[in-house]
Each structure stands twice: as C-alpha cells, then as structure tokens.
Symmetry: C2
DNA sequence: ACACTGAATGACAGCGCTGTCAATCAATGG
DNA sequence: CCATTGATTGACAGCGCTGTCATTCAGTGT
C-alpha cells in the first residue's frame, strides 16, 4: 500500500525532460544567464509553467550560484528610525532582486554576535548592520566572512569594511551653533535611555561642544532610563521644569519623539513656545513637522542611509568601486519652536 | 603559478577530521540533534571553534534539514502599522531561532505574486503575508507550496491556509455605536487613498452600518488620493470644513495619523475639540495617545497580530493544532476628543 | 572546398550537508 | 555465560542545481 505522499515539487530535470533539452540548458534558459535560442527558451518556459516549476535557490546557491539575500541587523523596530532605514534598504535591494533577511539585536552585543553567525550561515550576498557595540568576535567573523559588509548610522567609527551614515557629533554641534546664534542663553537637555544609544550621546557631546565654543554650558540635564517616546519626552520636560534650578530658555531633546512630547507638555501647561521656552529635537520626523508649529530639528536622512548602504552592497557585488566611508549628511530644520 | 585564492571556509568534514570523528557525528554534535557523548561533543566543538567553522545552512536545508527562514510579505514599511506587525513577528520568530525574509509589495498584486515566487524559491519554513489583492495565481502557488501560510490583518476573508487579524468592519461598527451613544448627530468622514486600503474601506462600511442602525448617515465625506499622513489629515479636515455643506459635529478619520492631523488643524484654527468638533481615529498609535488630549480611537493589536501569526507558523511546524481563523480583536479607546 | 570562429548545447562532477539504515559495543537479565 | 537491549557512531547516497570544460554545428574568409 502506497503511503499518501505529497507530490514532490517538480525539479529542473523534469522540466528539462519535458522540454526535451538537457538539465543545464533548462537551467540557463530559466536564468537568462547565457545564450539560449529563443525557441529553446520558449520550450523550457512552457515546460516550467505547465509543471508549476518553482526554482530551488538553495540548491542553486549551494552549487555556486549567487545568493540574492542580504542579512540586515538592526537594534530595534520600535524606534521609527529603523523601519525608515529598512525601507530604504528594501527599496534599493528589491530593485536588484535582493531580499533582506532580518535580525533584531535589541541593542545587545551578544545577541548581535549570535545573529551575525546565524544569518551568515545562510551565505547571504552581503550584510548590513546598525551596530550595537559589536564584540571583537563579531568583527572577526565579519572580517573573515568574505562578503560586503556595511555598518550604518554612524561614520565616526572605524568600520570593518564600509560605513554609511552621518556624524551625530557634528549634528549636535551644528544645532548648538544655530541656537546660540538665535540668542538663547540657558539651554537644557532632556534625553532618554542614552546608555544604549551612543549616537544620542554623540549628539549631546557635540551640542555641549558647540555651547562651550560660545562660552555657554548646559543649565540642566534630565535623562530618563526608558526608550524614547513622546510620553517620555513630556514627562522629562515636566520633571526638568519642576526642579527649582535656573529656568532654561531652551531645551534640546535627544530626538524628535521626545521633543514632541515636550511641545505637548508646553501646550498642556500653557507654556508659550518659543517665547517662554524653545524646543529642538533630532531626526526630522514627519510627526514633528506636522505639529501646528513645526519643530526645530535636524533632519537625518534615514531612508537615504538605507538606500546608500544597499547601493554599496550592490556596487561591491558588481565589482564597482566603493567608498569606505559615506557621509549622507544632515540638514538643520529651522522650525517655529525656536 | 597559483592564483591567489581566498582560503575557503572550513567545511564540516574538516571539522570532523580534526575532531577525529565521522562527518555525520560532527554534524549531530553541532546541531545537538541526536545523542552524542559529552566527550565527542566537546571535541567537535573545540575543533569547530579552532577552525572558525561556520555552518552552511544552504547545504543543510538542501539535504533535507529544516529551514529557519520565514518569508514575510508586507505592503509597505511607510505606514507604522507594518513595522509594528513585523516587530511582533520578529520577536516570536527569533525566540524560536527563525528569521524573517522580507518582501514589500507596495500594494501591488503583481509585485506580490512575484515576491511570493521569489521568496518561496528559498524554501522557507513558512510564509506570512498581509495580502494586497492577491491574484488567483498567487493563491494557487501558496496552496501548492506545502508550507504553513498565514494571511494577516484581516479575518473577513477566506484564507488559503490560516488568517490572523481582526474584523475591520466590526471596528468601524463599534466606533459608530459608541459615538452615536455619545449623542453625535452629523458625522463626517475624512480618508486617505482608500482604493489601496480595503481595510480602511471595511471600517468605513462598518461605520456607515452603525450609523444606519441608529437612523443616521454620513453628513459628508472627503477622501484624498495620497497615502495617509498627519499632514494629509490636516489638509483633509480643512477641506471638509471649507465646504459649505452641513457642518459636522464629528469626524471619523481613516486612521490615527489622519485624525491627529485633524486635531492639529483644530488647534491651529481655534476649533474646540470635542466641544465644536469631535474626532476619532483608528489604530491606537502612541502618537494619538500622547496628544495633550488623548485621541478617541480603536486600538488595533498590531504587534499581537505579528506575534500570533508567528505562533501559528511555529505551531504548525511542530505539528500542533492550529486555528484557521484567529481574531485578535480590538479595543475602543475613549479619549478626550469625543 | 577547408580550416576557423563563435554560438548553442551537453556531460560531468561536486557544492556541504543530513536522512536512513546498518554496525558496533557496553550494559542488562536470565 | 549468552541473548537482548539501547546508546552511540558510521557508511552511503543524494538533496537540486550550476561551474567548467568539451562538443557540435552553422556560418565565415580565403
């Protein structure tokens, strides 16, 4: 008695047989990778269609064919920044027929290392990572992997292979200069859990440096040990203003989510922005730009980072020249909150 | 003369040789898939480490081993809803050592079909899709694929295999009932490009049905042919109020982004919410809940949809029973804008 | 008419691993 | 002491495809 068996997926050799050609010819026809008579092409395609043939890329890649998978490791999806980056990546990769294989490190270097090995074991064509304190072991694995690797977000680093991003320190510095130029004298800072966010730290440093150059310093600073959010920004500003320290005339927030929370607090507490208090953020999220009064912020080009990183991978795969460091820059957005 | 050749990655057989065991034993040791003496285990692990061995899952999967990739097809990453779903998916998948392989259909059924074939050619363990008008061909491919398939977001459908989501019609209906109960008499609607968003259409239908049951009808309706955004909602409400039709006492927006735009318009135009105009959205985004006045909305459980969908895939893979339809429900959020 | 060229096709081997089944061997029970 | 059992290991074959090199054959130049 025959055990009922799901009819196996048709293989290339069955397609070839039906089309009356050799396996390898069928392979070439279906990949358009080498010269095949239009006639043969037609026969093979017909055969494939009538059998419902679905290419098995596992076998193809194992046999030496190219992979069209690109490993992507991000620290989180909760922060809108990373979906934006991912969007840019996906867009460009998709154009070239590539797919991201995703891993989320949760800002954990150990998890990151684990993900690197795991994703690499599928022999992807390239790897894009927004590092979260990569271990030396991680770097070593990437170095030996022999595939294009792009580290994204930050370019104040020494990448294993390539890096695409912006200088967060420069962004903080630029914002400080801008605001100093507007005449603010007693700046304060409200931040989220920045121990996990070296880029926010870099912005803060740059901001401080900018103030320092103008003979100013932060009047006060509040950091809360939670991931950034609108609610947290609101809470953070309330806390800041509650203290009986020198009242700031300006608050620089660790990012736009936080800053929008600050704006909401002002709305609710009847604080005039920017007359009583100016507010600035970072990222240039749509959210902040759709407020009744546009948020002053620095626009980071997140999607462009993704696109550019994907471009680096693709360029490298096609043997084109690639830059080690790519600065996508940032732009200061002079909104109405400062 | 020897062409310089990147030292090939060590293979399992080299590890086995170094460890002094057979290939298959090394394989088992590294997978912990069958009984191996602690001693052998140690030897093999040491050998693997000292060689910098990196498992090749391409070969493993081809040889009949399991895949830990799950294809995920979403219509977009621009709408925060989908990153939320993806987060839920990734979370649960990661727990089980699985990775999402991502494809974005851009709401295009043809692209969707293309993605399905493409991703399936990597022989993933399962597939999760937020359908965008799946073609019959797509459904057929999925049916024949012989892997767990979960269609997400909507459960008002007839899925190929499983579906996880909520009834958007019911959500619209519930919101209508709630608002009718609050005494509003002249409701209006502001929506985005809903031709591409059947779920928004379903909510609108449900909303209309709810009104109808109470002897009411939509006083006015504005739909704009762009993807939803805060700015678009703002613009939409302005347009609605600009018309010299009966003034609404309530506007139901196609989603929270749009509704928040509406709130912002009211702030800017000096319209008191909810005294002059009530506003309701859909999704329960953090954004709306952090407004100075919390937005009235329906919370969709996006992350839970992702988690549940991943759970279905995993359950099926482990031979556990799975439901064909899973309703994750929704919850009405009575905010201050109504 | 003949060697020569290039396009189209094919034979072969093997990518690196795991499922299946068989072999080995110490421990157990009578 | 011998058959039986279960735990551990190994031999073998093959997953489905593509790179490499060889072969075929029509078209070209002299």
């Amino acid at each position: 008695m025959q055990i009922e068996k799901r009819p196996r997926k048709p293989t290339l050799s069955e397609v070839a047989a039906l089309a009356g050609v050799s396996e390898i010819t069928a392979s070439r026809a279906l990949r358009a990778s080498a010269a095949v008579t239009p006639e043969t092409l037609q026969k093979v395609q017909d055969a494939a269609r009538s059998l419902g043939y679905l290419r098995n890329r596992l076998a193809g890649a194992l046999a030496g064919g190219p992979s069209n998978q690109v490993a992507v490791i991000l620290p989180s999806l909760s922060n809108i920044v990373f979906p934006d980056v991912l969007k840019g990546l996906e867009d460009r990769l998709d154009d070239a027929g590539f797919h991201p294989v995703l891993g989320i490190s949760n800002y954990d270097p150990a998890q990151e290392e684990h993900l690197i090995r795991n994703l690499l074991s599928w022999r992807p064509a390239g790897l894009v990572i927004a590092p979260s304190g990569m271990t030396e072991a991680s770097r070593a694995v990437l170095r030996d992997a022999g595939l294009p690797v792009v580290e994204i977000m930050d370019i104040d680093t020494d990448p294993v292979d390539m890096a695409v991003g912006m200088s967060h320190r420069a962004a903080g510095l630029a914002m400080a200069r801008h605001l100093v130029g507007r005449g603010y004298k007693t700046p304060a800072y409200v931040g989220h859990d920045i121990t996990r966010d070296p880029r926010a730290v870099a912005r803060l440093e740059g901001f401080r440096a900018g103030l320092h150059q103008a003979g100013l310093a932060l009047a006060d600073i509040v950091t809360l040990a939670s991931p950034s959010s609108v609610a947290l920004g609101r809470q953070g500003l309330a806390a800041l203003l509650d203290r009986n320290t020198q009242h700031p005339d300006l608050v620089y927030f660790s990012n736009d989510d936080m800053a929008v929370g600050g704006v909401f607090h002002c709305m609710a507490a009847g604080i005039a922005v920017p007359a009583d208090l100016a507010i600035a953020g970072f990222n240039g999220l749509e959210l902040g730009q759709s407020l009744p009064v546009r948020l002053t912020t620095t626009a980071s080009h997140r999607t462009r980072i993704g696109e550019t990183a994907a471009g680096c991978i693709l360029d490298r795969l096609q043997g084109r020249e690639t830059a080690r460091l790519t600065d996508v820059g940032f732009s200061l957005v002079e909104g109405g909150t400062s």
